[in-house]
Each structure stands twice: as structure tokens, then as C-alpha cells.
């Protein structure tokens, strides 16, 4: 049919058609505000962050520690009841160097979002966060990093209580 049809429908417009008033349109701004409950597990996680501790949750059946914590193990569908303090160090699993904002505006100083595998959690278990205090060109996958926390009195129990993660200069253990 594709080759038999000559006239496919659909009328393209340009941004300028709107700006120059060539088409009629309705503009509306929807406003929605929310107050989300943290829930049980993330509530513990946020309380931990306020104290400067990253919490995971352990499944004894599957022998794994997940982060962020949750109330049920997806693998075995048993409850996770034990919260485990993890380190505030980790390894860069992957990263990006991002030059645009969420609404696709250019930014001069790029952001460096990363998935960071947290020390103490099972291998491959990371969280989304950002890197800082580092030349973007020097970031590599596998790089060791450490959390930079807000001062204790400024923490509010949020993921942003960790400002960013910076390269870890590790002291060689004997």
C-alpha cells in the first residue's frame, strides 16, 4: 500500500506560524503540586542521609544488599526488614557529561550525572547522582569516588544531602 498511496495526510507547522499568529492556538499552564509520602523504606533511607549514612537493605534469602532500600525483594518476593549501613564511597559504573538542562537549554559548565556503585552493596548496585570537583575529561568508568556531604546542620533528609561525589584519593592499606 505504501507505494500505491501518493497522498499521506498530516500538515506540518512551524514555530513561526505560532509566533506570527498564522494559526489559532490555546495556551494553558497546568499547575499541580504534590506532597509525596516517603514510604517506609525510603523514609529510613532519607533519615539515614540526614545522619550522613547511606542505608541499603539486605535479603538473607538471595544474599544481596540493595540500595536504595525497599520493603520487598524483587527476586524472591520476601520482605526486606533489615537496613544495613553502607560506605559513602563507591565506583563510577557509568557517567555522562551533559550540556543541556531538562528543558533543553544550553549550559556552560556541564553537569556530570553518574551511576555510582556503592561500597557495601552487592556488586552492580548503584544510585543515580552527580560528580563534582573533577575535570570532566578526567572522569572514567571504574573511577573511585567519595560523597561530599552538606554540613550536618544543613541536612534535611533528602538525596541532595549529598552535594556530589568527588574522586577518592585512596590510602593504600597495608
Amino acid at each position: 500500500m505504501s507505494k500505491q498511496i501518493k497522498d499521506f495526510r498530516g500538515t506540518p507547522l512551524r514555530e513561526s506560524d505560532f509566533q506570527e499568529g498564522k494559526v489559532l492556538y490555546v495556551h494553558d499552564a497546568l499547575r499541580g503540586e504534590y506532597a509525596w509520602d516517603t514510604g517506609i523504606a525510603i523514609g529510613h533511607y532519607l533519615a539515614g542521609l540526614k545522619k550522613g549514612v547511606i542505608l541499603g537493605a539486605r535479603c538473607d534469602h538471595c544474599r544481596k544488599i540493595v540500595v536504595p532500600p525497599r520493603t520487598v525483594c524483587e527476586w524472591c518476593f520476601r520482605p526486606l526488614t533489615e537496613y544495613v549501613p553502607l560506605q559513602d564511597t563507591g565506583t563510577v559504573n557509568t557517567f555522562s557529561i551533559c550540556y543541556v538542562t531538562w528543558d533543553v537549554k544550553r549550559i556552560e559548565k556541564p553537569e556530570i550525572p553518574a551511576v555510582i556503585e556503592i561500597d557495601g552493596a552487592s556488586p552492580g548496585h548503584g544510585i543515580l547522582h552527580k560528580l563534582g570537583d573533577v575535570n570532566p575529561e578526567e572522569v572514567t568508568i571504574g573511577m573511585r569516588v567519595q560523597a561530599v556531604w552538606k554540613p550536618a546542620e544543613e541536612r534535611e533528609g533528602a538525596i541532595t544531602d549529598i552535594l556530589y561525589w568527588r574522586p577518592l584519593k585512596e590510602v593504600k592499606k597495608r
Binding site: 500500500m1 505504501s2 507505494k3 500505491q4 498511496i5 499521506f8 495526510r9 498530516g10 500538515t11 506540518p12 507547522l13 512551524r14 514555530e15 494559526v23 495556551h27 494553558d28 497546568l30 504534590y34 509525596w36 516517603t38 525510603i42 533511607y45 532519607l46 540493595v66 540500595v67 536504595p68 525497599r70 524483587e74 559504573n93 557509568t94 557517567f95 555522562s96 557529561i97 551533559c98 550540556y99 543541556v100 538542562t101 531538562w102 528543558d103 533543553v104 556541564p110 550525572p113 553518574a114 551511576v115 552492580g124 548496585h125 548503584g126 544510585i127 543515580l128 547522582h129 552527580k130 568508568i141 533528602a158 538525596i159 541532595t160
Partner: protein, 388 residues
Amino acid sequence: MGMRKVAVVGAGMTKFVRRAQETGKELSWEAVRMALDSCEMTIDDIEAVCMGTAPDAFDGLHMKAEYLSDGAGAWLKPYMRSYVGGGTGIFAPIQGWYHVASGLFDTCLVVCEEKMSSFYPHAQAAFLTIFDHTTERALKPNLLWIFALEMNRYMHTYGVRKEDIALVSVLHKRNAADHPCALLGEPDITVEDVLNSEVLAWPVQRYDVSPVSDGAVAIVLAAEHVARRITDKPVWIEGVGWCLDTAYWTNRDLCYPRYVEVAARMAYEMAGITEPRKQIDIAEPYDPFDYKALHHLEGLQLADRGQAVQLYIDGTAARTGNMPVCPSGGLLGVGNPIAAAGLMKIAELFWQLRGEAGARQVPGNPRRGVAQAWGDLMQVGTVVVMGR
């Protein structure tokens, strides 16, 4: 399993454009009318309607399927909307398939519509709400992040080079130059053009990404006894599969889409496919970004892990190659009106397997094809195998 054979007997689509003057209803109606005309059916011959359309946030309109229902031909019919993010365009035909395979209906219309342009200033912002509101959204993420993170992980794990991944964008955009509905067909694009395009979120550059678009696609499904009365050339839905991986996307390795593999194995088993690389003639993997086509070819078992790019390097993926990939031009070339883009791949296989794809026709009378889509927070895989 006691299921009836189901065929695609008609297909239609609108142009994919950056911004359409038509509303979503009007686009849906144009696609449906073309699909019905193509098989000389009327809306009275349709027993049920399935609608696929992505987030209500694009339109700022809750219960979007109900709003679209008149254009979709759903008046006083059993009507149902499905939505699994970007996977919707391949899931909606699966939903239509089980409406008919189950014996409940003899005919079913599947419509996928997307109008992304209404969202201001850019549809990307509508995607913000897919992130976890407590643990992720506070970091002000943008949608490009997850693709950039996944692409970087993929390149790092298998040592795939950016200049090779760019071949995907080049092939698909060149293929799209032959598609009458394409938004970004570029017959002369080169690897250098891709590598020199604006960096958005390294390693993702402008030409690695498909464009946001408006558009609609519709197909008509029929049970075997009806299909044989409608057309001499039914294209059968031979296998379907779908699967969802964990929503904790930072807890699994982004280098390989397990969920696509599970969905593909489900579809292949139903279709009796034991050696997909030999038995699949055309592949339409989901390609919102160029590396995603590679990722998905590997999940579909059409290439070894980290090796899909070889299909582009050695010409296997070309329209005249042994296993053409995205002869339509894919999302990178035709455009990416989310749900409609997935169903466009089903329509493409329909036209290709009937020998009706015109300038895009794959030579050698292809017998079987696979289409796949992906979505949600990088964890859903939807797969359909079609054959004649």
C-alpha cells in the same frame, strides 16, 4: 495453546512531522481511514479497537484515549488503551492480537497516536515525571541522562566506538529518505555529520537522537477465516512477547537489555524460530538513539553481545544486505511520535512482506520479520514476529 491465527490485513499512517496542525483525533482518523481503505473495510466491520498512546503529560489531557476515541473509530465498541512507555507501539498490536487470538473478536483495529508538540517549551520536560520523585527527581535529571549513561556503559563494556555507532544513524536516516512520511530522511548524511553534531549529553550528540514528532499509525487485524476473505496476502502475527525488568534501573547492568531477550525468546518460541539470525529476514529494532538499535539487535539474539555494529560495518544491515535493519528509516529517520513510531515498524513489516514498500522494498521476497520496541524507565521490551 488453542489460539487462533491472526493476520494484519491493512495499514495506514500519517506523515510524521515536528508539529502537526491536526489534533490527535484528526491524525488518528486519517491513519484509521487509510488502514480501512487499504483493505476495503468499513468501521462497521471492526469489532473492537485498541489504542496505544504515551504519557497524558504530553497533551496535558487526562484519559487521553477517551479524548481520541472518535478519531480512532471506537464509538460504541469495546475499546481499551495500553501504555508501556516507548514500548507501547509494539504492545498495542500484541493487545489487539490477543483480542482476536482468544476468539473474543474476529476483527480488531489497532491505533497508535502521539502529539508531542503541544508540550511547551519542549516535550522532553514531560519525561521528568518518569524518575523517582524522592530519590532521583531532586537531582533535576533530564531524559538524555539515562540514554547517555546507558550508551557510555554499552560502549565501555564492549569497546564499541562512537564512529561505528554513527553508522546506525547514517543508515537509518538514508533509508528514511525513501519514506514518504519521514521527518528526517537525509540521503547524503555521513558519519562525519553525526560526529560533528552538537554534543547534548556526551556521548549523545544531536544526530544520535530521533526527533520528537506528531503522527498516527493504524493497522487492521483479522482472524484467519476473515483474513482469507479480505486479502490474498495476509501477513500473520506469528509470535509475540513482552517483559519488564526492574524499575531500580541503577541496580542492573545497563550494557545488555535482558528484558528484550526474554520478550524475544517468548515471541520466537511461539513463532517456531530456533535460529533467529537465519530465519529473520528483516529486523525493525527500536532506534530512538543510534546505539539503542545495536543494544536491541543483541537482545533480539540477532547479534552477539557488543557485536551488532558489525552488521552495519559489513553491510548486513543495509537494505540490500542479508538482514536489513530498519529499512523504514526507523525512529532516527522517519521520526519518533512515541507510540505511533512503534506501530510504524509493524506497518513497515506488513508492507515489506507484501512487497508493497516501493522505493524501500527489501529485495528477495522477504518471508519473515521482527519488530521490537522498548520503554518505560529503560526496562520494558515488546516484540512481534510477522511472516507470510
